[in-house]
């Protein structure tokens, strides 16, 4: 086994050298697409170029990425595993106090990031990640969704991001334009709507991914 690893080492070094040579032979100064993005930024509805690219110019990629997130959750659920955290875990005093303090702050920070994404660093994914972190904290303290909310409402929260994105993307279709071709006067509002629903969806999906199982299943323990 060990001799095979020693054989692998020069191959890896050769790969690293080849990749390094390829990268270093790229031109020193290269103008990417920042000029093209800056030209069209006024029509995109937001002033943060990354948000404009994510939600407007390359909105299709973002839509498919949210579907990938939902698919990964479906994969994890279909494995039928047990939840990662037991419901009867008793949180220690530090975790208890920290969660009580942090979860409202995290929700506020998520809302701020969502709003600030239009003109400053931020946006739906960052806000959704912060919400997911709040969900993970809650799950670690033994909190569980009430059984009435664990079935249909949870599933609605999980897919509402993709559905809202599809609905907004399909809005231009009756007017004869293409999918995702927002009207420039309303583009800012449309992007905010998409981001709001996407934040909820991403946060809930990440928290349920951490939970590892379908909350509607009965825990056999």
């Amino acid at each position: 086994m060990k001799w095979r690893h020693w054989l692998l080492l020069p191959l890896m070094l050769a790969l690293a050298a080849g990749l390094g040579y390829t990268v270093l032979s790229l031109p020193d100064q290269a103008h990417g697409l920042q000029g093209a993005v800056a030209d069209q930024l006024g029509k995109s509805g937001v002033s943060n170029p990354v948000t404009a690219v994510l939600l407007n110019f390359r909105g299709y990629d973002t839509l498919l990425e949210m579907v990938v997130l939902t698919l990964a959750l479906l994969g994890v659920w279909s494995l039928g595993a047990q939840p990662a955290v037991h419901a009867e875990s008793i949180p220690g005093p530090v975790l208890d106090m920290l969660t009580r303090l942090l979860v409202p702050i995290l929700i506020m920070v998520a809302a701020y990031l969502l709003w600030a994404g239009a003109h400053a660093p931020g946006g739906a994914f960052q806000a959704g990640a912060v919400l997911g972190a709040a969900g993970v904290l809650l799950l670690l303290t033994g909190w569980r969704l009430p059984p009435r909310g664990a079935g249909y409402p949870l599933r609605v929260a999980l897919v509402v991001g993709v559905v809202a994105f599809l609905a907004v993307a399909a809005l231009p279709l009756p007017g004869g334009r293409h999918l995702l071709e927002y009207n420039p006067t309303y583009a800012g509002v449309l992007i905010l709507i998409i981001e709001a629903f996407a934040t909820v969806s991403i946060g809930v999906t990440l928290a349920v991914l951490f939970f590892g199982a379908d909350p509607a299943d009965k825990e056999p323990r």
Partner: protein, 84 residues
């Protein structure tokens, strides 16, 4: 100003080498728990690198998702692996 650019270049070189060393420690560590903790540190280092590369959106996403959430997932999976 020559000294300032040399200083910032050496700062970037220091962070880059630190990143490589940290990645090697994550992958070559014998204790899995320590490897996951080092991986969370690696994620936070990457967030610092994103700020150095003028990518604050990616820094926010990496700190929250790459370091925080992936670390939590890995820890939960390690606890499940060890509970036999």
């Amino acid at each position: 100003m020559e000294a300032m650019t040399w200083l910032s270049w050496s700062f970037d070189a220091f962070i880059g080498l630190g990143l490589l060393w940290l990645a090697w420690r994550v992958l070559a560590c014998s204790d899995l728990f320590k490897a996951i903790v080092l991986f969370i540190a690696f994620g936070l280092f990457m967030a610092l690198v994103w700020v150095r590369l003028a990518a604050p959106d990616i820094a926010l996403a990496e700190a929250a998702i790459g370091a925080g959430l992936t670390g939590a997932l890995l820890m939960a999976a390690l606890a499940r692996l060890r509970e036999d």
